[in-house]
């Protein structure tokens, strides 16, 4: 037990300040959200399928094994079920402690790395907690928060699987320095196994890093026992993560490969020296001095070995992502993110040495300058964290009234859990978000950026991505088509829209017919003309048709029961009509009501006898077209509702 006076050492002051910063600031004042999007939308969907008994976790289609996920959604999903709260609630609360956990891990690792150098430990904890890039770029390909190449940037709320893996990686660095061989080997194996079960990219990467250190030691000491250690660590990690990786390996071997490529406009990170220094901030600057010092004789030792071998191994791997990005499972951004751990350690060595040799006044000035230069990045990170979770009620480009949707999705989620999983059909616009908020798997979905299919659905489910899109398009063409087609994809439940006593039995996302397979999404495919005056645009989170003046889109529905047409479009504001809708002989000119995507309704008391033609008088974006038909037995309040397909088709 430390004596009370020990608490006053600079190391303890730094740790306490870091813990407070992590708890209060990095949690963004205990942020709480019940409407998490981004990558968390995917993890939530997976967690809910796990709650339903699909322990391996599945994507939006029944049988589609997840690639990302593992212990993170399994544990959060289990906790949510145990406490009878939502996934978001559990993640919100658990994430408050993610930052402090990172600080404590850094402290533990620091003590292991520099048992006799409290100054280096303090510097390591401080840099691992407070470091931010010299940037305020909040874009997805920018430098801060979830895009940060600094591990410190990932301690902010909420905690993703990647963040857990990073914490375990840091723990691994400490374990590698454990003097007891047996513990070193066993715990390393356990940690890597856990990491594989949390993150299929960072886990194996950690295995490579451990093997590199032990391999280097074997080479340097001409001691084969290190090679035995590698085999033991590998064996343990493979064994304990087998539950997770074997099904995935089987999926890959079954053909189709991985479908994890990023949205094409998200330019892959390629760091050069200035960008490294920008992205790593003060850690980057100090790390260059630190690495140079660690290479000198004075600093040689086990800690220097781990830091330098990790750094060298990661630098060796980076060119592979540049040469063949499609073959490299770990992208450059992630490699730099892991690199930030040895970089932070090297920076801590540099910082502690500088503080030792420069006069006190200069040290104080440098620390103050460092603190000040971290302010812009910290402020931007906090703004980014806050802004990302305030858009409650929006998903993709659409507004979802939480008052309506949350109870509906909660009820649906309960049914999913009770029935041990469910396949349902709903309109293309709703399907992916419905899966994300309920775990109810879908006939088809649009795949926004975070929802990566992982594996080819055709191989694992028998139906390809485009085939499923086609099923939804042809399925939602009137009640008869719905009842004939949607059950063939396993759907047992419907989620439909009701308005003025009418039900949308016709529905189409016009962009859906121009989608390409998940693996074929590239720069050419995401923005391309598909007809005169009509451009298909894949915006990542949504897709749409951009209709230029004179351009038009036709829907070939013919049904006298269609009494109302709903069109979701984003029209330019102004008094002049932007959209012209031709139904039979009648022409309706529509003027913008709002600047955002808005549903516009047109009554068609005589039904639709020759399709619908939507034309642009001014350029606008077209998202969705629906046809509402009479369904007296489905009477109820306006808004979305669910109905078992068996009842609907009775």
């Amino acid at each position: 037990m430390p004596r009370p006076t020990d608490l006053a050492t600079p190391e303890h002051i730094v740790v306490i300040c870091s813990l407070l910063f992590a708890l209060v600031v990095q949690s963004s004042l205990f942020t709480y959200s019940e409407w998490m999007l981004g990558d968390m939308a995917y993890h939530r969907g997976v967690a809910y399928t796990m709650q339903a008994g699909l322990v391996q976790g599945e994507g939006p289609f029944r049988g589609l094994l997840t690639y990302y996920g593992g212990l993170h959604p399994l544990i959060t999903g289990t906790l949510a079920a145990a406490f009878d709260v939502t996934f978001d609630a559990i993640v919100s609360v658990v994430s408050w402690f993610g930052g402090p956990a990172w600080v404590l891990t850094a402290w533990f690792a620091g003590r292991r790395m520099w048992p006799n150098d409290r100054l280096a430990v303090a510097a390591f904890v401080a840099l691992a907690t407070f470091a931010v890039p010299f940037s305020t770029d909040r874009t997805i390909t920018g430098d801060i928060w979830t895009s940060s190449t600094l591990a410190a940037g990932h301690a902010y709320w909420p905690i993703y699987p990647r963040d857990v893996a990073l914490l375990l990686t840091l723990l691994l660095a400490a374990v590698l320095l454990h003097p007891n061989r047996a513990r070193r080997v066993v715990i390393s194996g356990l940690l890597i196994g856990a990491m594989v079960s949390v993150h299929l990219e960072l886990g194996p990467l950690a295995g490579i890093l451990v093997a590199a250190v032990m391999g280097w030691q074997a080479l340097r000491d001409r001691d084969r026992s290190h090679l035995v250690d590698i085999a033991l660590v590998g064996g343990i990690s493979i064994l304990i993560s087998a539950w997770w990786w074997i099904p995935r390996a089987q999926a890959i071997l079954a053909g189709g490969g991985l479908l994890i490529s990023d949205y094409p406009l998200n330019v892959p990170l390629r760091l050069d020296v200035p960008r490294y220094l920008t992205s790593m901030g003060i850690v980057g600057v100090l790390s260059l001095i630190g690495f140079a010092l660690l290479l000198s004789r004075r600093f040689r030792g086990p800690t220097a070995t781990v830091i330098l071998v990790w750094a060298a191994t990661l630098l060796f791997l980076i060119p592979f992502d540049r040469i063949a990005p499609e073959l490299d499972p770990v992208n450059e951004r992630r490699l730099w993110l892991v690199f930030s751990i040895p970089a932070t350690a090297a920076a801590a060595v540099a910082a502690s040495q500088i503080v030792r040799v420069v006069p006190r006044g200069v040290s104080a000035a440098l620390i103050l300058a460092a603190a000040l230069s971290m302010l812009p990045g910290t402020k931007a990170t906090l703004e980014s964290v806050n802004a990302s979770w305030r858009a409650e009620g929006f998903a993709g480009r659409m507004a979802y009234d939480p008052q309506v949707w949350v109870p509906l999705w909660d009820g649906l989620h309960d049914e999913v859990v009770a029935e041990h999983g469910m396949v349902m059909a709903t309109y293309d616009m709703y399907s992916v978000w419905t899966w994300s908020f309920t775990g109810a798997q879908q006939v088809s979905v649009w795949i926004p950026g975070p929802v990566k299919l992982g594996f080819d659905p055709e191989v694992l489910t028998g139906l390809g991505y485009l085939e499923r899109n086609e099923l939804t398009r042809t399925g939602f063409q009137g009640r008869a088509a719905m009842c004939a087609i949607l059950p063939t994809a396993g759907a047992t439940m419907l989620l439909l829209d009701r308005s003025d006593g009418l039900v949308a039995t016709y529905d189409r996302t016009p962009a859906s017919e121009f989608r390409v397979d998940a693996g074929d999404r590239d720069l050419a495919s995401i923005n391309r003309p598909v007809a005169p005056g009509v451009v298909y645009q894949d915006g990542g989170g949504f897709d749409q048709l951009q209709l230029q003046p004179g351009g038009s889109y036709r829907v070939d529905w013919v049904d006298p029961n269609i009494r109302m047409i709903g069109i979701v479009a984003q029209l330019p504001r102004g008094d002049a009509p932007a959209m012209e809708v031709r139904v039979g002989g009648e022409v309706f000119n529509v003027t913008a009501e709002k600047a955002s995507p808005t549903p516009y309704f047109i009554d068609t008391p005589n039904g639709v006898d020759d399709g619908i033609v939507i034309s642009a008088r001014q350029a606008f974006r077209l998202f969705r077209v629906s046809g509402y038909t009479v369904a007296p037995e489905m009477d109820g309040p306006d808004g979305p509702f669910t109905v078992p397909i068996a009842d609907f088709c009775r």
């Binding site: 200035p274 220094l277 920008t278 901030g281 980057g284 440098l366």
Partner: protein, 646 residues
């Protein structure tokens, strides 16, 4: 491959020409001033003495009105021959390993400049180098200071600002005659770049160890300052080299208490004012800062040192003013810059700059801060500094400089002080021009021309930072970085310089084949005294290649003589109206145009801006007769009486 061989061959010839003009003539006399053991000082003294010899010869011949560059060349070759024994001794005195390392490093460092002249078809486009060349040619043709030259249809005084540069470049053109003027102009950059890098290294070595000095040179050489100043045939690069060498010799003279060296440096700096006034002013500021730092950082200031420095300053000013009065028609060029042209709601110089860049929309000038920021925001190609993205540079350079200040010895601290004082002087210069004047040109001198030197200063700051990290390393580890580490850092620094410079020059476009063909056709059809008008806003290439009069290829409006400035603006506007939809032919008569050269894209004639119009429109003009047509370019002859209707 032929291009590579020729490019290297012409580069070597240019080096020989430079050696004959600016190294060898002074070698013999330099031997009397500097001990053979001090090889570097000997070399610098030889260069500056050679320069003075050239300047004196040129000035004398111009004064008596018998100037011919061949006389200058004959004398310099004669003196060079007399210097050969000294050269041989100098060469023998250089230790072979040093010669190999220095030679190879320099060869690698200037590789991008040599590579930029590899292209046989390459003719430098869209710079003012044509204009400078024509200034020199006018000097040779007149045999003395020319009375006037034609610009914008009027006779204006010949621009004497670069008179010694013109003298040296004319002598150089005589030596490079086998290569032809265009090639000579291209390869000029090779010896200048080599000299520029060496001069920067010498200045850096006044305060820094070898490795940080190499880092400083690489960082400054890869900066937009050096890449922009040494990318073409222009007086400023020569002015920078001379200024830096002069400053170096003065500081060395002060340290060694050698009044002769200081005087030689002072005279050379005075002459430098008539090579390029801005370069001389800024290197003079560097010298001033270095001198003050030398005085401040010694334990005891000696009166003799002060007197010598003051004397050097007096010599510099006297030479500059003497040259100005004798040859340039005013004591100092700054008196021209200070000429007022404003007092009107719209700055006519800004209007001129807009018109001469093909912009007739009447945009207001950008703010002073915008103009300043544009030049310093990207000190190295591809690196954009901003808040907070530029903080990395502040940290890398700032922390190293801090260590240099904390742990460095007197020499390093003197360098840091010189840097601080130099920055302050430069900032004061920028502020003076930016604030004290309301017209574009003097503001431009401060905000842009002076500010262009800031990236070079940042390069030196990086060198000081490297020095700081080395002393920090010594403090922490108790030893110096290993020789291998130092070699790697030096090699990486030079590699960075080479890569950045090569990439920067790779994009240089010459005049495309059809443009060269069109200019050749113009030269073939034209007769002496003919006037040519082009819709491409060329900067001297038409006059250079055809020796015809292209009235819009002028630069004298920037002197801000109000009446001439208004006239130039009126001519540019009239030309725009002729090529534009109005097709107003007034300009044809006003300038007495016989030939009209039209390009669909200005780049076809090596220009970046256009007055408007295209070949098809011109072809429909009944006042023009097509004489020749290529892809996107056509030459028309003006029908007699075409402009009379106005």
């Amino acid at each position: 491959m032929t291009g590579v061989i020729l490019g290297v061959g012409w580069s070597l010839l240019a080096l020989v020409a430079f050696a004959l003009l600016l190294v060898l003539p002074g070698m013999s006399l330099a031997r009397r001033l500097v001990a053979m053991s001090d090889l570097t000082t000997l070399w610098v003294a030889a260069v500056l003495i050679s320069l003075l010899l050239n300047a004196a010869l040129t000035a004398a011949l111009l004064t008596v009105g018998v100037y011919d560059p061949r006389y200058v060349v004959a004398v310099t070759i004669l003196v060079s021959v007399l210097s050969l024994p000294s050269l041989v001794r100098w060469l023998r005195a250089v230790p072979p390993p040093v010669a190999v390392v220095v030679g190879l490093s320099l060869l690698v460092a200037v590789a991008p400049w040599v590579a930029s002249v590899w292209r046989l078809d390459f003719a430098p486009s869209n710079t003012l180098q044509w204009y400078y060349w024509d200034l020199g040619r006018a000097l040779s043709t007149a045999g003395g200071i020319p009375g006037t030259v034609q610009e914008f249809g009027r006779a204006v005084p010949w621009l004497p600002d670069y008179v010694f540069f013109n003298g040296i470049s004319e002598a150089y053109s005589v030596l490079m005659a086998p290569a032809g003027s265009a090639v000579a102009m291209q390869v000029w950059r090779v010896p200048l770049a080599a000299a520029g890098l060496v001069a920067m290294y010498l200045v850096a070595r006044l305060w820094l160890d070898r490795l940080p000095a190499i880092v400083a040179v690489a960082a400054a050489g890869a900066s937009v300052f050096f890449l922009m100043k040494f990318n073409a045939y222009k007086p400023e690069s020569l002015g920078i080299v001379v200024g830096l060498l002069a400053a170096w010799l003065v500081v060395r003279g002060k340290r060694e208490r050698n009044a002769t060296w200081m005087a030689l440096g002072g005279v050379a700096l005075g002459v430098d004012v008539a090579i390029h006034a801005i370069a001389a002013t800024i290197t003079g500021l560097v010298l001033m800062a270095a001198a003050v730092a030398e005085l401040v950082t010694v334990a005891e200031v000696r009166r003799r040192s002060l007197a010598l420095l003051a004397g050097t300053a007096v010599i510099t000013l006297s030479v500059a003013v003497g040259t100005g009065v004798a040859l340039q028609g005013r004591p100092l060029v700054v008196t021209e810059v200070l000429r007022p042209a404003a007092g009107r709601p719209v700055d006519p110089t800004w209007t001129y700059l807009q018109y001469s860049n093909g912009n007739f929309a009447g945009q207001p000038p950008p703010s002073r801060s915008t103009r300043l920021a544009a030049g310093v925001r990207s000190p190295w190609p591809g690196i954009q500094l901003g808040w907070p993205r530029g903080l990395w540079l502040v940290w890398v350079a700032g922390m190293g400089i801090l260590f240099a200040a904390v742990f460095g010895d007197r020499r390093i601290r003197a360098g840091l002080l010189a840097g601080v004082l130099g920055c302050a002087a430069l900032a004061a210069g920028i502020a003076f021009f930016a604030v004290a004047f309301s017209t574009y040109v003097p503001q431009h001198t401060g905000l842009v021309r002076f500010a262009q030197y800031i990236p070079g200063g940042l390069g030196f700051a990086v060198g000081f930072a490297a020095q700081g990290y080395i002393v920090l390393w010594q403090r922490i580890t108790g030893g110096l970085p290993s020789r291998g580490f130092a070699s790697v850092v030096a090699a990486v620094s030079i590699a960075c310089l080479v890569i950045v410079a090569r990439e920067s020059y790779r994009g240089d476009d010459g005049i495309p084949a059809q443009g060269r063909e069109a200019i050749a056709e113009l030269a073939r059809h034209g007769e002496p005294g003919d006037v040519v008008l082009s819709n491409a806003l060329t900067t001297g290439q038409l006059e250079f290649h055809t020796e015809l009069e292209a009235p819009l290829e002028g630069r004298q409006p920037l002197i801000e003589e109000p009446a001439f400035l208004d006239h130039a603006n009126a001519m540019l506007l009239a030309a725009h109206r002729f090529f534009g939809p109005e097709r107003d032919p007034a300009v044809l008569q006003a300038l007495g145009v016989r030939w009209v050269l039209v390009a669909d894209q200005p780049r076809l004639l090596g220009a970046s801006a256009s007055l408007g119009g295209n070949v098809a429109d011109a072809d429909r003009d009944p006042r023009l007769t097509l004489r020749w047509q290529g892809a996107g370019v056509a030459l028309f002859e003006v029908m007699t009486g075409a402009g009379d209707e106005t």
